[in-house]
Amino acid sequence: MIDATLLLPLLIIGAAALLAAVFGLPSLNRRLNITRLSWFLALAPLTATILLALRVPQVNEGIVFTWQWTWLPTLNLNLGLYVDSLSLLFALLVTFIGTLVVVYAGQYFKGDQGAWRFLAYLLLFMVSMLGLVTAGDVLTLFIFWEGTSILSFLLVAYKTQSEAARYGAFRALFITGGGGIALLAGLLFVSNVAGGTDFGTILSSGDVLRHSAVYPVMLGLVAFGAFTKSAQWPAHIWLPGAMSAPTPASAYLHSATMVKAGIYLMARMNPALGFTDEWFWLLTIFGGVTMLVGAYLGLKQNDLKALLAYSTISQLGVLMMLIGQDVPEAYKALVIGIVAHAFYKSALFLVAGIVDHETGTRDIRRLGGLRKVMPYTFVVGTLAALSMAGLPPLFGFLAKETLLVTITNMPPAVAGLIRWSAVLAGALMLAQAGLFIWETFMGRPKDPAIQAHEAPAAMWLAPAVPAVLSLVLSILPGPKEEATFLASAAQAAFGAKVKVSTVLFHGLTVEFLLSLAAISLGVVIFLARWRIRAWQTAVLPHFSFNKLYAWVLAGIDRASVWATCLQQGRIRPYLHLMLAATVLLVVGFGWNSLRFVLPISWPGLDFGGEIVVLRLFALLLVVGASLMTVILVRDFNAVLAFGAAGLSMAVLFVLEPAPDVALVQIVVDILAVVILVLALARLPRRQRRKAQEVAAIRRYSGWSLARDVVVAGAIGLVVTLITLSALLSRPRESAVTPYYAANAKALTGASDIVGAVVVDFRALDTAVEIAVFGMAGLGIYTLLRFAAQKHGDNRVEEEEMAAGDGRQSTYGIGGLRTSAFVRAPAFVVLPLSLVLAATQMMYGHDQPGDGFTAGVIISLAVALWYVVFGYEETRRRLPWLRASAFVAAGVLLAIGTGAVAALLTGSFLGNYDFTAGWAFMPSGFHISTSFLFEVAICLTVLGSAARMINSLGHPEGRERD
């Protein structure tokens, strides 16, 4: 049944959290009364409880409420809710106990102006927890699951000044967070196999999941997540550490709700993953060990909260074990155990908090005799402790008895062992409950310094509610509504009918006798408690899993130290590592697709065609010239060799034949060489000399050279293989080129197909590209100007000012004297380049050349001026050359043209001929949007390239010694 009102409880509590957070504002914080605020905020979980409780009759009839919101349809990601009786049971516990805890926290933090933070965290936690138990999608569940981990961290570390709190919080986050990662992996496996992430799909595909080959993997991962969250041995160590949280948080998170998340998850997944041998053994063993370890360790604690923490661990072990059984009685025991434990344990925690709050200590060696000064707290505590001890007529008795019934129904091989373990654990629990009450409230005060008085009513009423419920639930006569609800919840977890009755006495059965045995044994342990505790401290005092945890953390630290050894802080080793890793990755993962090219046959080269010979020759030139950049010792020569390689590339383009590309390649190659030379000239002479020294191959040690050669060679080999496989398997029929060829003239008015693609079909690409090019120019300008200011050498400027007497026109770049024979052509070249550029743009549509070539041609002429006349003179003679303005104008013109074209043709940067049909236009020339776009490209490129030349040619950065 789809029902969006399910979101209401989440939203209401979320709003309350927001309201609490608002009180962090200084102006509001001054007027904050935390007690009054908590009363008001408690209305939110209370409302949620009522809203949820109203659905109990419907879920009892087996109705499942769902709601789904498609979040990312392409990835099939949904947010979803799924509420059946199992979810509702947990949700009610979360909101109901949450209400009490919020009220209690208001008293606990009375007068603390900073406690809005606690309330905000607590309510946010409530949202996460409620979301977790009502999630209808494994990913939704995971998000809320992580939310509870993070908020638990914040709550445990609430007292940020305390080292223990921070340590405990980190440990809890480390363990539960690690479990969360495993859980995510497990849930992804599950949803992949089940074919959907929603619980509806997953819960109904149990057979598919159980017979899947990856069943052990997903079971292990999911169980790992649940075990860490629910503090199962040996991950239980985080729970006692989390006791450094303020007591309201401990009562809520670490007894009633968060630690039950793992229980909920496993119970939820039981219909999907359960009923197998693996499931049985995994949960029985870990649950059983946890039960015993928790019960055993709890007895030796001196801190009230630690004692409760270990008994919680023990109880969680019991619940986990119960989920592992595939008999209906186990699920009856499970739901009763969950409710009983949530009630008595939250009450006991809150009582411990009251004791701590009123006396200032939780150490049972200092407490005692409090029953006289704190009578109400004493009664409430005793009631809850009796339930924990499993004594009739309380709900806890029922829980223990149903547990024992389950065990008598087990296969006989394990039943005996588990039965007596359960009896022993029950006895230990009873002893601990006795310890808790006796040492705190009975006897005589052990520490006279403690001045205690009764807590305010609102404080002891909070634990009183669940404590009294423990009694009422079991002794209430008549037809029991809650029994029906519990049965329905158990049925949802078990997948088949479960009978639940809350009748206390069934007659003289085996489990009743076992119950009696547990009680008697517990009384004996309680009476001998000091002797047993002394013995416990003597035996194995040193070993604990905390050591293992500390060792693991230290190991991680050491591993990270080792890993950062690779961080040498120098560029070349990083490059080596990255390149080598790339090679390994490509070969490792791509070998199968690359292998097919290996039986290389020597190509039957047809030397008949002269094109082939020319191509071969050009390839040889490219590779050879590139190789020369390595061999040549002087940097200037290497730059020239690179220029030669670029020109040889142009030859290859011509042979393709690709005249447009060849033209661009030639002009860009020249521009690149100019820029490289300018940069070279800009380097201070001393550095240049040093650079020259390290450029020579023979200066490298054999080892470092070998490393470079191996890395470079490996890259080359891999690239060869990739290229070969790409070329051999490429389609010989293009999917798009025929369309371009057929429509170029009609749609863009260009007979140059490449030009049509650049300025029309893929015009947006080009627009972005010129923007990038423009930004590169401006970026260089900013970089170099910034550096020039920061590391500028004032000496240079002074020298320049001294030279500023009109003679500088005879000095070219680098302060070299240029002759008139060089200067004269420069005057001619610039206007010539402008004309050339104009024709490029006008006729680029039907001939090689475009706006880009035009821009580069003009900038090359400008570069010549810089070389011949020097920086200052060029700036003076060419005042119109405003590089940044050109870039801006170019980009704006491109956008404007695109917009106009969009208006006229309906397509951004589409082609529209303004002069169509005009008789007096020169033939082949049209003023069209494409032409304007070419102008825009030219302006941007000219501006940017001029910026580059200008910045690199600027004398400030150059050392003139």
Binding site: R615, V623, E656, V709
Partner: protein
Amino acid sequence: MELLTAVSVGLLFAIGVFQMLRRNVIRSVIGLMILANAVNLFLLSTGAYDGVAAAYTTSSGARSDALPQALILTAIVISMGGTAFVLAMLYIISARYHTADLDEVNGLKN
């Protein structure tokens, strides 16, 4: 021809990477530009058609593939801008460390 092209691209890559690994700033920029050339050569060779005529609607005979050519055109421009920017950055770095030797640029460590 494919094998020879592939070997050439591989060789250019090897040379480019080797140059990038030099200590000399200028050489490493040259290495970057050689890599750009290698990629352009690769793009060129991926054309679907072996043409004998340029890609014009007016030309007759088998036309070369226009698509990789347009891509290369863009690639040339972008790599030019990118390389110039890298050059400026390397210049700044060497100005800050007062060296053009990349092995003496070790500020990442501290």
